[in-house]
């Protein structure tokens, strides 16, 4: 939040003085053979939605993606830096990088600059050594591997849903449905999350991306 000495009141709209943040709900799930990742598509500056079709699923390498939440500027800068570092490392090794390596690079940067940054990132992908993996690097810079991880402001609302509906050994289709439903529930409750649901499946075969538009989202009515 940018602090101002001048209180502009109504002269200028709220969003001219607010930092751009990816309010967000992001999620990643491991399954046998890969990972499913998903995110909403809303970027806000205060109450204004700066981008309603944001792509928060950012490729870091051919089969490694990151889901970004927190400050849009910080996460973009970190992702760019890690993409460069990982690309260089992969050329040195002459083979596909490990997902854990990518996650470690994120963690290094997020921890070293923890006072200046506001970034919650989920790193997910597939590598030949360990298959599908999800690593979470929340604000503060810790890193841990989890079979399923949620992040962003909207994630608080779906912990109960994820805890009760996740089962180990789900198929790719079940994971896609689980992720889409969880994101929809979060988007319904969190003002900073919304728009469309972006999904991606990363596996040995590569990356398949899809978008679920607003009117096609699963319906949960409590009326």
């Amino acid at each position: 939040i940018v602090s101002t000495f001048n209180n502009y009141n109504d002269l200028y709209p709220d969003w001219t003085q607010r930092e751009v943040s990816t309010g967000t709900t992001i999620m990643a799930v491991e399954f046998e053979g890969g990972v499913v990742i998903g995110a909403d598509s809303r970027t806000t500056t205060g109450a204004y939605i700066a981008n309603r079709v944001t792509d928060k699923l950012t490729p870091i390498h051919e089969r490694i993606f990151c889901c970004r939440s927190g400050s849009a500027a910080d996460t973009q800068a970190i992702a760019d830096a890690v993409t460069y570092q990982l690309g260089f490392h992969s050329i040195e090794l002459d083979e596909a990088p490990l997902v854990q390596t990518a996650a470690s690079l994120f963690r290094e940067m997020c921890y070293r600059y923890r006072e200046e940054l506001m970034a919650g990132i989920i790193v997910a992908g597939w590598d030949p050594r360990r298959g599908g993996q999800v690593y979470t690097v929340p604000v503060g810079g810790m890193m841990t591997r989890q079979p399923v991880s949620v992040g962003g402001s909207g994630s608080s609302y779906i912990y109960g849903y994820v805890d009760s509906n996740y089962r180990a050994g789900m198929s790719k289709e079940e994971c896609l449905k689980f992720t889409a439903e969880a994101l929809t529930l979060a988007m319904e409750r969190d003002g900073s999350s919304g728009g469309v649901v972006r999904l991606a499946v990363i596996s040995e075969q590569g990356v398949e991306r899809q978008v679920i538009l607003g009117n096609q989202l699963p319906k949960f009515s409590t009326v």
Binding site: Y157, Y159, G160, D163, A186, R189, T222
Partner: protein, 218 residues
């Protein structure tokens, strides 16, 4: 050398809060209320077996959350006011009346109080009803959740609630929701208290920690 060898623990000066998860659900023929049992002062748990479901009348209960002192006082005052309201009449009070009395206090003293009560019960006129009174509003809802732990189960209750559940299904729904919230919220925990109210009266039940359902734990 530190100035004090044994500095006074923070929790002695922290306000006592019911961190809490509370929930109330209507089913065909009545309501089910549920709460956790943890009362915290800062990081210390000062009561791990507190029953936060307080009777306002035979078939009307309220669930307490927020500041423990504020919530208990409101419940006591409304308990008294409801008796005055009934007078010598034989009829049971309406749930709406109890909820309105709670709302009046919450709204009038909204700057001083920080408590959220969910009022639920059964009356002859409208059957099972649940009213939320957060911040001084009065809203009748099919179900209501409250307290710090309720944030984590918003998604769960949105997805799992269905209209016209049976009494048994509603009780399971309440226990599941409480368990999930207690699993994620540091200020909620202990045992689960469940009260079921229908035309025959109120039935209180306590589900101990080891009897709570198990969910996937990473």
């Amino acid at each position: 050398m530190s100035e004090e060898l044994f500095p006074e623990p923070e929790w002695l000066s922290e306000e006592v809060k019911t961190g809490t998860t509370i929930i109330a659900v209507t089913f065909d023929g009545g309501v089910v209320l549920g709460s956790d049992s943890r009362v915290s002062a800062g990081e210390s748990v000062v009561n791990r077996v507190m029953n936060k479901l307080s009777p306002l009348h035979d078939k009307i209960y309220c669930a307490l959350s927020g500041s423990a002192a504020d919530a208990q006082t409101i419940a006591e005052i409304v308990n008294y006011q409801l008796d005055v309201h009934i007078g010598h009449s034989e009829d049971d009070p309406l749930v709406c009346s109890a909820a309105t009395l709670v709302k009046n206090i919450s709204y009038k003293y909204k700057e001083e109080l920080s408590a959220h009560l969910i009022v639920a019960g059964w009356d002859r006129k409208k059957g099972g009803q649940v009213y939320a009174t957060l911040n001084g509003l009065l809203s009748r809802q099919p179900f209501a959740i409250g307290g710090s732990g309720s944030f984590y189960i918003n998604g769960f209750v949105d997805a799992e609630y269905r209209k016209n559940m049976t009494k048994r299904e509603s009780q399971e729904f309440v226990v599941n929701a409480l368990t999930l919230a207690m699993g994620r919220d540091g200020s909620s925990g202990g045992v689960a208290y469940v009260v079921t109210i229908d035309k025959d009266g109120a039935e209180e039940k306590c589900v101990l920690g080891n009897e709570l359902p198990k969910f996937f734990d990473e």
